[in-house]
Amino acid sequence: MSPVVRQFRDFFVSLKLTVVLLSLSLLLVFVATLDQVNLGIWAVQEKYFRSFFVLWTIPGAPIALPVFPGGYLIGGLLLINLVAAHVYRFAFTWKKLGIQLAHAGVIALLVGELVTGLLQEDSSMRLEVGETKKYVESFREHELAILDRTDPQFDEVVAIPEALLADERSIQHAKLPFQVNVKAWLPNATLQMGDPSGRADLPRANQGIGPRVQVIPLPITYKSDEINLPAAFVEIVTTEGVAGTWVVSPIIGMPQSFQYQGRTWEFAIRLRRQYLPFSLTLLNVTHEVYPGTEIPKNFASRVRVKSDDGQTDREVLIFMNNPLRHGGQTFYQYQMNAAGRMSVFQVVSNPGWILPYVACVMMGLGLTWQFVGSLVGFIRRRAAADKAEPAGRRAGAEIS
């Protein structure tokens, strides 16, 4: 083995590296916790944990400097350190089994967190009593939906996700007989009635509600109880030329439409939807509080699950600590307005959900094994010492 390779190996298997990385992660977690007061929980996760470096923007200059290793870097190095040390030092003995198992559990936990970070999808479903839905909505991301409303039986939907809109490009879709030009995209904005000509920095919308509203850009919000409401200026270009420019935003309650080639099209910006192979109907909601208090005792929603293939059709009670798991999705009781007969579920799909459970079992068993082993060893040594020397004398010697 060449000296360079050996140096590399010694670096990555060393306990010093472990201690340094653990200490760095301690600092990272602490600072990130404090920063939640300013940034909110979502932005903190992006800035500190789902990044390779924590960036700091110099005030007044558009330069971001990496000032501290981020969660991916520390976690990744810890993973390499752990795996390398295991591979390098691995030798099966009963005595070391506990430590090995515990560390394998830590590996499973780190991998699980990575899988979750990459693959978990969070969305919500909001239902009023009696309402049926077969899609879930994103918590924060929007999409531009273009619906073909011509057929009263069903709608044809083309949805353009937020990330594509933000590029402000031309979009051509096989199902659309026209081209969609995104002339401007505002990640957070509000609308108010008024003459739009006052805002020279924005394109002019000449169709739908466009001529009657002013679009006012807002800074992006990071608060956990607020979402960004985007706005876009969308120009439709057909083979016959420019059909016009519309302004779209989730604030506009009703969809705006236009006629082309004998068909009716509607546009709306809405929370990004994902359609499910089954539907949920909200049958009833209950919200109990303890008598004489405002403390919630229970929230529960009774729903009917019905799958498209007709194999599932049953009633389920979803309440706190008791979610519904169906079709790879888990529905949790999230919010409720019992007076408004409305319930919101948080819907999560996470293919890596089993890993933390496995990790927990491995770490628990491993550490217990190790701890009990050390304890038994200690008691044995102690008993042996007691035999060699009467307890009284030793105790006296230790105290004086």
Binding site: V19, L22, L26, F30, L109, Q120, L367, E398
Partner: protein
């Protein structure tokens, strides 16, 4: 003589604990104990009036005794006697100084001047003590009578502060709201069973009962536009206004549901029950009973009072046997005060154990260990009583976590003392036991410590696993830190830390850190699984979760630094002491951030104590860096 010292101390301790169960000497003919066991429903839970009295006093004035600094004799013999005065004889209760106000700004707002807060101690000794800070130098508790005149202004200021988000309020606004809430609580108690301005509420109710049928007829007639007696309608309207006022302030639900109602939580406040009389034309019997109690209390008619207390017991007992049993036990538990008794025992265990390092090591160490065990038994009993009354696992809120952190650490200390027999376990146990119970006492000032669980936390399985395991993790991390403190303080400042003891301490700290790692890691992961079960994510980087993670990481740092040979004995101790800082942050600091799902208790004053604790720990870590040849124990120690 020396030989019998441990036994003597044990017997003294036992006697001290046993005296808690001795019934208080009845100074009056009134059956106050029986009155204290009458159950009512408050904040979602059926509890005895004794608990209402104690938690109300703690919330109003921060202690259960009602007295003034000048006069050592208290106004009332027991909290429940104070409650009887508030409920039945408010004119007298209004003169008791039971509303605590600390802020000078609020005092000025209420026109309380220096002349009012001045304490006229009757002896020179007391005056000296006051100057030295052992006795209060000025009054901080005031009677309702004293504050009455300026209460509208207090209310106005509190209304101004109400709309502001809790975290953004100025200290003055926080204090104004706190004092206003105390006054409101006092008013709620005053109007719980009678109108405070009524000279004889029982007579008023009897007249009301007689006038009710004709009165309701007259009101109905007026509504129809038929002829009616205008005076009767007016009297009825006045009565309705008075009852509506009572209903508005309704806090104690003293009226059990009607016999056919099976919902055990459908108790009603007096005002609501009286309003219903306009429909039923009949006054509720419990309402009348409380009014009879009131008259008997005011007129000193002990026989009637006791008869009605017995009647209340008899009427509720067969319907709610379980609630009555719990109510009885809770009243006894309150009177015994196991946690306050344990505090005293912990202090003595600590003192005896420290002295044992200087003199009579075997006897004093054993005596200290006995006291520690007694205190542990008493706290265990107290925790079990709470668990039984609540029907919950031991840790349900910040208060119970303080009890349990102390309990877990002291249990470990007793085991350590059993193994090592060098009084170190007793010193650490006495210190942690006392400190955690003191913290618990301050947390109890917020109100009833057995509050209802929010829906999201309402899962006995996870409370019993995740919460208990993680709390033991806190206990162990604190214990390792306190053992390390003993190492540094003893080694640096005294000559008593010989090589053998230093070695034993090192093994203790190392073992406890291993134990802490096991529990905090498993507890944290269990918490993740709970979160996955109820919120759909295993880990959300919530402050409380991060706090738990910090403890795990720090324990892992200690272990790996030790295994990698990066630290030796002294370094291990310094790292373990920093564990105190990490745990204190995770336990209390995260709650002070005011964000996240877990922040169930936001505290202000505690923040300064947290800072003081952190500074003290960092100072000791700094002391540990003094070169070893300057340590008194090691300077003279033989090379062995």
């Amino acid at each position: 003589m020396k030989r019998f010292l441990p036994l003597l101390v044990l017997l003294l301790g036992l006697g001290y604990l046993a005296s808690a169960f001795r019934p208080a000497k009845a100074k009056t003919d009134f059956d106050l104990a029986g009155f204290g066991r009458v159950p009512v429903l408050v904040n979602g839970r059926i509890k005895p009036l004794d608990t209402v009295a104690r938690t109300s006093l703690l919330t109003l004035q921060g202690r259960q005794r009602v007295s003034t600094p000048e006069n050592s004799a208290p106004f009332v013999s027991a909290p429940v006697e104070w409650l009887a005065d508030v409920l039945f004889n408010p004119a007298k209760a209004d003169t008791y100084p039971t509303i605590r106000i600390d802020s000078p700004e609020v005092l000025a707002l209420l026109d309380v001047t220096e002349a009012d807060t001045k304490i006229a101690y009757d002896s020179a000794a007391k005056r000296t003590m006051a100057v030295l800070g052992f006795l209060p130098s000025h009054k901080s508790r005031f009677s309702y009578d004293r504050l009455r005149e300026k209460l509208p202004e207090l209310d106005r200021q509190a209304r101004l502060a109400d709309p502001i988000e809790a975290q953004l309020r100025t200290p003055f606004q926080k204090q104004v709201i706190a004092v206003r809430n105390r006054v409101v609580l006092y008013l709620q108690l005053k109007t719980a069973v009678q109108m405070p301005d009524s000279p004889d509420f029982l007579q008023e109710l009897e007249l009301f009962q007689q006038a009710l049928p004709a009165g309701v007829q007259a009101i109905l007639a007026k509504q129809r536009g038929a002829p009616h007696d205008e005076v009767t309608v007016k009297v009825m309207r006045q009565m309705a206004d008075r009852i509506a006022y009572m209903e508005q302030l309704g806090h104690l639900r003293v009226v059990p549901p009607a016999a056919e109602n099976t919902d055990p939580t459908a108790w009603k406040p007096t005002g609501t029950a009286l309003l219903e009389a306009f429909g039923t034309l009949k006054l509720d019997e419990s309402v009348m009973d409380y009014a009879r109690l009131g008259r008997a209390w005011r007129t000193g008619d002990a026989a009637t009072f006791n008869r009605i207390v017995a009647k209340l017991h008899d009427s509720i007992e067969p319907r709610y046997p379980e609630a009555m049993r719990k109510s009885d036990v809770e009243a006894r538990f309150n009177a015994a005060g196991p946690f306050y008794r344990s505090m005293a025992l912990y202090v003595w265990a600590f003192l005896l154990a420290v002295v044992s390092w200087l003199k009579w090591p075997r006897e004093l160490a054993r005596a200290a260990a006995w006291l520690l065990i007694l205190a542990l038994v008493a706290t265990t009993g107290g925790i079990f009583a709470r668990m039984w009354i609540e029907g919950r696992p031991p840790v349900t809120n910040l208060y119970s976590s303080a009890l349990f952190v102390g309990w877990g650490a002291v249990l470990l200390c007793v085991i350590l003392e059993g193994v090592f027999r060098n009084a170190i376990g007793s010193v650490a146990g006495g210190l942690i036991g006392f400190a955690t119970l003191l913290i618990a006492h301050h947390l109890s000032l917020g109100g009833d410590t057995m509050e209802m669980m929010r829906a999201v936390l309402d899962s006995n399985f996870w409370l019993a696993t995740h919460v208990v395991v993680i709390t033991i993790g806190y206990s162990a991390t604190f214990l390792a830190g306190f053992l390390a403190l003993i190492y540094v303080v003893r080694g640096l400042l005294t000559r008593t830390l010989d090589a053998g003891t230093a070695d034993a301490l090192t093994r203790m700290v190392y073992g406890i850190v291993c134990f802490a790692t096991l529990f905090s890691l498993v507890g944290t992961v269990l918490g993740g699984i709970w979160a996955d079960q109820s919120w759909g994510r295993f880990w959300g980087w919530d402050p409380k979760e991060n706090g738990a993670l910090l403890i795990v990481i720090w324990n892992a740092v200690i272990l790996h630094a030790r295994w990698g040979g990066l630290v030796k004995q002294r370094g291990l101790m310094a790292l373990a002491i920093f564990g105190n800082v990490v745990t204190a942050w995770s336990w209390f600091g995260t709650n002070m951030l005011g964000v996240g799902l877990h922040s169930y208790g936001f505290m202000d004053a505690a923040f300064y104590w947290l800072i003081a604790f952190v500074v003290s720990q960092v100072a000791v870590i700094g002391l540990a860096q003094v070169p070893l040849d300057k340590w008194r124990s090691f300077r003279t120690a033989p090379a062995a």
